[in-house]
Symmetry: C2
Subunit: 586 residues, 2 copies
Amino acid sequence: MYDILKTINSPEDVKKLNAQELEILAADIREALFNRLTKIGGHLAPNFGIVEAEIAMHYVFESPKDKFVFDVSHQSYPHKMLTGRKNGYIDDNCFKDDSGYTNPEESEHDLFNVGHTSTSVSLASGLAKARDMKGEKYNVIALIGDGSLSGGEAFEALDFAGSELHSNFIIIVNDNQQSIAEVHGGLYHNLTELRETKGKASNNFFKALGLDYIYEENGNDIQAMIKVLQKVKDIDHPIVVHINTQKGKGYKLAEENHEAWHWCMPFNRETGKSTISFPAESYTRLTAEYIINKVKQDKDFVMITPAMPMCAGLSDTAVRAQMGAQYVDTGITEEHAVAFASGIAKAGGKPLIVTNATFMQRTYDQISQDVCINNNPVTIVLNCCAFDSLTDVTHLGIFAISAFANIPNLVMLAPTSKDEYLNMLEWSVEQKEHPVMILMPGNMVTSRPADKDYGKINTFKVEQTGEKVAILALGDFYQRGEELANAIEKEFGFKPTLINPRFANGIDEAMLKDLEKNHQLVITLEDGVLDGGFGQKIATFYAAEPMKVKTYGLKKEFYDRYNPQELLFELGMTSEQIVADVKKLI
Amino acid sequence: MYDILKTINSPEDVKKLNAQELEILAADIREALFNRLTKIGGHLAPNFGIVEAEIAMHYVFESPKDKFVFDVSHQSYPHKMLTGRKNGYIDDNCFKDDSGYTNPEESEHDLFNVGHTSTSVSLASGLAKARDMKGEKYNVIALIGDGSLSGGEAFEALDFAGSELHSNFIIIVNDNQQSIAEVHGGLYHNLTELRETKGKASNNFFKALGLDYIYEENGNDIQAMIKVLQKVKDIDHPIVVHINTQKGKGYKLAEENHEAWHWCMPFNRETGKSTISFPAESYTRLTAEYIINKVKQDKDFVMITPAMPMCAGLSDTAVRAQMGAQYVDTGITEEHAVAFASGIAKAGGKPLIVTNATFMQRTYDQISQDVCINNNPVTIVLNCCAFDSLTDVTHLGIFAISAFANIPNLVMLAPTSKDEYLNMLEWSVEQKEHPVMILMPGNMVTSRPADKDYGKINTFKVEQTGEKVAILALGDFYQRGEELANAIEKEFGFKPTLINPRFANGIDEAMLKDLEKNHQLVITLEDGVLDGGFGQKIATFYAAEPMKVKTYGLKKEFYDRYNPQELLFELGMTSEQIVADVKKLI
């Protein structure tokens, strides 16, 4: 097992292998992928498809002297195994040593810590520029694919490289005919034409941007890949190497269903079934049910996702097909998705966008300018914004509030239960006055009575009337607020007030004023960084008043792969710790 | 004068004119442009070049039933004149009635309030989508040009339109061979090829994205434009109408120097000279001097701008040429510019990006992910972030702090004088530890001694030691802080403490703690919205302490074309008003 892979401690070792050994290495790498992915999950199909290309890259080029930039960097696992990190795949005790993305802290062969798409050409063009300024000589290679091409950042950089770079720059386009879900966008039709004509189609997108171009049909053939890369090595100008690969290659289930196997939880290799069980109910599934139902009822409603249907529970292609033109996957194009939705809302449609919170960061400007200045009623639902959702540094949802809360006209809602979430969704989709962002809860699904109408912006809700201490527990931290209220009552013998703010980016001035009558301490709890967030608005409201305020939330830091419960303890945010604080403050 | 233009009260009136009258109308429009622009300034060359096309658009289509989306919407002045708003151009008393961009509050013929580039195709595709969902029939037309094509949002939308839209959608590409400065990017080479071959070049960028395409050589010929637009009217699929126009047409000086006349201050028509005088010194000029000097001294230094060289005082093409490869205009590609800089920094270069504050909003994600997670030493200087700089709702610099201040690892500097600004610039460019954003002052240039080293992050500077009241006066509001300190001393007879925070997005905990000894009130002054900004961090620090804090800044609102001094008064921010507040608080 892993006979060849075990001998690979650096790319130098790859270069020593003969053709047959390289084939065994590819098989070893796939076995190692199985070992890690069946046990802890991760990006499967992208890595199974890129094994041969990355072996060839290390066979031909000289990393770290030559620089590789991976995009999406979730397709870098084979590269990691070839650069001293095989133990993260073959030794179960070492899984935690490696992140699921390139990471300069792990290895000098990784240039950037990057988990979003469409960044490689731009980052790599910077490396090439600095190399030329310094008069150095090395190859700079961007590997881009798996849907990444359609993002604006990639387009901007390809356009730039096509005319402004005049030295060595190699862009390997990994064409696996797939984004996360199916590909969308005219560019992918062009890639198809290019594949079908073995690179000879007229109207070559890359050539139109001024880039040199070469096509390699057999992207899963190590020798073919070595040959084409040797051809472009040390080239004196930018060139696109368009390679045809099979996403999921080597795992039959993944070859047959790219989308389901793009990313996986721990699973049984024979059956493909997940080995961990999920709760029957989840906010993602509730979202899907809402959308499917709404589509049937209302022809003006349109569901939009920038290539992340699973964030709305819409992984089933048959279900998507049933929605017809009322389901739009824009491809990996967050900026376009938001402006497109603004146009739809302007013309009387009811657009809903659902995606991952951090991917939405790409659209700060579109939300501000295209949507909020125009006050068009677009609804945006962010998934994975809970602090205990995704813990990779590149995918932290903890910045969702601070990133968007301070854009005028945007109404930001933080539901605390299934009922509140669904009512907020329906209210938002139906109203015509405000752009709305809803933070999808990451908690277990709970049910509590909730209002139907959220038209009175920034009105908080008192869930328990008490005295002395008021707890403002936002969104996903509402249940912690309940727990804290009980702990305070138990410790001090009085009932504190418990408030569900519901609105994450404004303040209910009348209610806050009212609290001054019989409260001396306000506690804010929020599931995100404090800086720029909810609690700071409350603290500022009372800043010149005698009311004490204690804000609880995360620090402004790029946390990485943390244990959420341990983090809360470190931050002094357990009920026990907060009760101890209260003891000092009242 | 304006004989024909005076008869135009709506697009209906344009349709009644014969060919000769249309020509006179074009001349009238140019006269009207002269009238407004010589007196109050605005976007000149883009509008002079698009007169005929917009006349033809209104002649052929039926706005507001048919929908026009303009991009950059600063090239919409002729359209405005043809849709009931001629008085904003021919009547000096009405100049203020019209903004410099499309504005739905002004007219039903304007769909979006939009001042940034590259948004039209996306917004318009949303209109087309909603039209189709509702089973309505009308033309949707996006007019895009003047450099807008290279922005990622435009690329994403063109790619989307090329495969996902299957109904009427007309994209007029106004090819005036110019961005704000000269064009950059492979796409513009393709446009040149297409012009030279009258649309017949192989590797047509638009066709590669799946879009139908038609070329019109004579974009400044009304009859030719009418003919081509009549051809595409009511078309049943997306098409690009590539038109060749002359930027600045009709004003010789602008025809000869597109960049200088892209946007103008009030000027003398005969001489082209500005009729208002500028101070000899400005922060923009100081920036230019710094850059020019640094380029000479340090071959690792590279100046990057996404098509906004004037923000760095680099309007002179000869000066730019002298900088050679150390000056990079990436075209209108903010996202790429930031990731490109991150790559340069990673490989040991010293990148400096300078642009307009609001345009940088496009890069929240790139600053967070591509730069700050990687902690690469990129320096970003934002121009026009002062509240009294640009007052159009689309160009407000008042969100600069709240947009970026809450991204971890980013050091945000707010200089208060020439010396501090230049020292901060030099420190930032030379250090290797932090990504840095510097808010270029918008005040008159002043000089005061300043530190050279800013390596102790988040250390505030006490500029006057006093008692009872501490004033934290950030960046451009430092001089107001000085004024306030004097007013307080005069009114109350004691000397307050005056602090120059210098760091806009962190707090000096030791100093704040120290203030508790002999101060009872902290006042924060900042040139931006309070929400998510500087003062809220200070208020939060003291929230559970007896120290009172009063934060002064702007509200979270989309202000539009306001009088800055009146706004300060409305917000209670004059020294007199603040002194009255202090009276109540101490």
